[in-house]
Amino acid sequence: MTLKIEHVTKRFGDFTAVNDLSLTVEEGTMYGFLGANGAGKTTTFRMILGLLTPNEGRITWNGKPVNYSTSPQIGYLPEERGLYPKMKVEDQLLFLAELRGMKRADAKRELGAWLDRFDVPQYLNKKVEELSKGNQQKIQVIAALLHKPKLIILDEPFSGLDPVNVEMLKQAILDIRNSGATIIFSSHRMDHVEELCEQFSIIDHGKQIVSGTLKDVKRSFGQQNVRIRSDYPLDALSAVPGVLSATATVEGAVYQVESDETAELLLTEALKSGPVRQFEIEEPTLQDIFIAKVGKEHA
């Protein structure tokens, strides 16, 4: 049960929303989809769901194109609220589950379990509009997962949730992944992607600018941070070849460098002016990579 997107391009008139996108999500893994607002994430999701047809390339799930016969196996959480505001939670979720091919009685049983799990059983007979944003999001998540989908598409699943609920939701998603579902999700929160995803992509203006496993991407990023703490002046260090930028801190400085060799060079230079109290090579965070890649494109 693999989701494959191969060289997909989507144009709206003159505007290219998605440009030559390729990715593969294996069964039982989670794929992170990062991008600024308007980068083409939602368009990609809509193409996976079959709501839009790509101009070029193809999307297959389990070797076959996605259409209405496969929709019972798909769970979708739209970025904005996708619930009837005036309908009761129970009616609503049972309706959506039935629509995805689930039997009403089964859906009812599952629904109870989910509400308990998310600590919201008291909302069963409440209208959605009466719930807080975070609780609505929980209901939305249940709507996407209730029918036990095999392919799950989550557009910003954690928005509007407090840290406790984020943890609760993360655990639920991880459980579902461990039971063999294929998950693709988008987020603005780099830490969530770093924590949950085996693989990820960053897309910007429809183009995939970074993709792969976290480790590979970090290694090939070609930049790392060197943090030095010293009581002696470090001014000369910013002139060392290979230093991309230097930021002074209270007790020293942080340097962005290209490679390990530059880092060693920095240490040598620093030791020349006096003893060094701390020397550390930091891996770039996803945040750094995102800002460097997307920010550069914008500049």
Binding site: L51, Y68, S71, Y76, R81, G82, Y84, L99, R100
Partner: protein, 419 residues
């Protein structure tokens, strides 16, 4: 098909279970009962009002009061009006009217040619029946005086005032007799109203429903499980069934109401609704044109509803459609008096006017069968085309967000739907 019925059921049940739906239904039923018992209720109020009307008469000639009282009594034996002769001065009586002690008074005199001169004084002239009654009575009194003068016998007077008998004879092939026409007119008028209101109400409901689903983004989930076309038609059918159920409930309520309120005024209407002496074809056509009219406008409404992103914009978007229905109703209403007007014939074949105008013509004229059938066929084709076209717009429209509130967006929606 399974998804179709799930959406159908959802559209029907959610709407039927809302409080506003229950309240509207109950209110309308209450209204029907109130209306059917209106004469009785008014009678009750009249009784409570108590004081019978009193007309004071100042007869300056001394010869007119008795004949007037007699004629008034003869014209309307049940009248609660009491007539009283008085010798109060006009100024005095005027004061009494002003202080509302009496409603009105009448001053009578005869001029040189023995013609009655009368002045009717009242505070305002809201009540027009009394002066009319008085005028008619005075006319009779005067005729008597003049007849005496000319020494005519009462037979001669009668023959002078003999009513002209005019019988209308329609020789047009499509016309119905005057009697039939009058009877048909009421039925057609009532049913026209039902069709008009139902179409406006339920198609508006569809547009709002679609826009709500779109603005709440539930649409994205829906159309990723069921094709937009299926969704659209399930919705149209679900709301349509709701409408039919509601109208049947009203119909039954109306029937019971008119049956149980056997007051004089409603007896005519009750016998009317007993369906005995009316043309059953008129009812059959009413059902056909209601259904077709509903589907035509509902499909259009769903199409328009799919173009807006916010429910607030729905009214603006469906305005042109509403105007079409109103135009159809005005056209049809203009033909109630004379259904053979030339432009009605052409209008009745324009699909958006057919449900009302063709129904008017078929209800009030003896049309050759091909005319309503052609109208129905044109409507069916239009519904089909609109459904096909609507489905294409719908497919893209439901994915389109932004400040879209003009018909130009149809093109954009089709483009998006194709992609």
């Amino acid at each position: 098909m399974r998804e179709f019925w799930i959406i159908f059921k959802q559209a029907f049940l959610t709407k039927a279970r809302t409080k506003s739906f229950a309240i509207t239904t109950v209110l309308v039923i209450a209204g029907i009962f109130l209306l059917s018992n209106l004469p009785r209720i008014l009678d009750a109020f009249d009784g409570m009002g108590g004081e019978a009307e009193m007309l004071k008469v100042v007869d300056e000639s001394g010869k007119l009061f008795d004949p007037l009282a007699a004629v008034l009594k003869a014209n309307d034996p049940d009248s609660e009006l009491s007539v009283e002769q008085t010798n109060d001065s006009a100024a005095d009586l005027e004061k009494q009217v002003r202080s509302e002690d009496i409603d009105s008074f009448l001053t009578l005199s005869l001029d040189g040619t023995n013609t009655i001169q009368a002045t009717y004084t009242t505070l305002s002239s809201i009540d027009t029946t009394l002066p009319d009654d008085v005028k008619n009575a005075l006319q009779t009194v005067q005729a008597g005086i003049k007849a005496d003068e000319l020494s005519l016998s009462s037979e001669q007077v009668d023959s002078l005032f003999k009513q002209v008998h005019v019988e209308t004879n329609n020789i047009s092939a499509t016309a119905k007799s005057e009697d039939e026409l009058n009877q048909a007119r009421i039925l057609v008028y009532v049913l026209m109203f039902v069709i008009y209101f139902a179409v406006i109400l339920y198609s508006g409901m569809i547009a709002t429903e679609v826009a709500t689903e779109k603005s709440s983004r539930v649409m994205e989930i829906l159309i990723s499980s069921v094709s937009p076309v299926k969704h659209m038609f399930a919705k149209v059918l679900g709301i349509g069934t709701l409408g039919i159920v509601q109208i049947i409930v009203y119909g039954i309520a109306g029937f019971i109401a008119f049956k149980t309120s056997a007051s004089e005024a409603t007896e005519g209407i009750a016998s009317f609704f007993s369906l005995s002496d009316i043309n059953p074809m008129t009812l059959v056509y009413a059902v056909i044109f209601f259904l077709l009219g509903y589907f035509l406008y509902a499909t259009l409404a769903a199409l328009l509803g799919s173009l807006v992103s916010r429910t607030e914009d729905v009214q603006q978007m469906i305005m042109p459609m509403t105007l079409l229905i109103v135009a159809a109703f005005i056209l049809a209403a203009s033909g109630l008096g004379n259904p053979e007007l030339g432009y009605l014939k052409y209008a009745s074949f324009f699909p958006f006017f057919t449900p009302l105008v063709m129904f008017l013509r078929v209800g009030m004229l003896d049309l050759p069968v091909w005319e309503p059938l052609l109208g129905i066929a044109i409507m069916l084709v239009t519904i089909f085309v609109l459904g096909w076209f609507g489905a294409r717009v719908y497919r893209g429209g439901v994915l389109m967000y932004g400040p879209s509130r003009s018909l130009k967006d149809i093109k954009k929606a089709i483009q998006l739907g194709k992609e």
